[in-house]
Amino acid sequence: MADARQAPATAGIDPRGPRFGAAVSAVLLAVTVVLGTGPAATALLAVAVVLFAIGAARGPQHSVQGWVFRRWVRPRLAPPTSLEDPAPPRFAQTVGLVVTLMGLALSPLVPGAVPVAAAVALVAAFLNAAFGFCLGCEMYLLLQRLRRA
């Protein structure tokens, strides 16, 4: 770039990491939805909440999936052609956390909240894993634009 910022101010991350993480989340959330309501589904949703919380707090590269990616997946891949800013995918983890946490919090009153919350998070995780479309990232960038306006 003219302003000499090929990589962001913090170290850039391999963009395939968050996509791998999204694939793992998608599988977990899909199983949660299929289980419907009940203790098993609620337990799986709680696992999703924990995974998103770690990703939101530490960034996608230091989430559980990020660790798996670095240790077992990335060594088998060619180096990335470019790095990406970890801030938008980290915000996406926060969005996932909010959605699944709401499902978990509402579940004693509304059992259907578990599969619904899992389904909402699943759509985002699936689109990210399958097409590289990060919904949370787009929200983050939109918020940045609005804040500047």
Partner: protein, 145 residues
């Protein structure tokens, strides 16, 4: 709903939901890299950019921090510019040129504006752009003269 009370029903609903979401995304992405004529006469000067324009054309790329596809588009446009005489690739950070970006109505990054030798906006695209689309855009703009 009966459909949602069985796991098979839930599985089918999830599959349908994901299929619909995929379709919506793919339809939305078809606009990426598609050339659009500018809505009204616009011009970008070398002075505004602080960079020289190309003698024949300029591929002005508007990027932003956190834009995942911008580096890849920059690589493509840089290569295309090098292959064509008098064509410059200029990449700017939208956050550093807020007035210009607002005036040009750029809402997405990456956005690419094809400028003529005087900086008049000949065409624009948004979203990801591959080499074929970039070359086609350039040929079109240069042909229009």
């Amino acid at each position: 709903m009966d459909l949602l009370s069985s796991s098979a029903g839930r599985l089918a609903t999830v599959a349908l939901l994901l299929a619909v979401a995929s379709l919506v995304l793919l339809l939305a992405r078809r606009r990426d890299g598609v050339l659009r004529a500018p809505g009204r006469r616009e011009r970008v000067t070398a002075a505004e950019l602080g960079r020289a324009l190309g003698a024949t054309a300029t591929l002005l790329q508007v990027s932003s921090p956190g834009c995942a596809t911008c580096p890849q588009v920059a690589r493509v446009l840089g290569a295309v510019a090098r292959e064509h005489r008098g064509v410059a690739h200029v990449e700017i950070d939208a956050t550093r040129y807020p007035d210009l970006v607002r005036r040009l109505g750029v809402l997405r990054t990456p956005s690419v504006l094809l400028l003529g030798p005087d900086g008049d906006v000949r065409a624009r695209t948004s979203g990801s752009m591959d080499r074929a689309a970039a070359t086609a855009a350039l040929d079109l703009a240069v042909a229009r003269g």
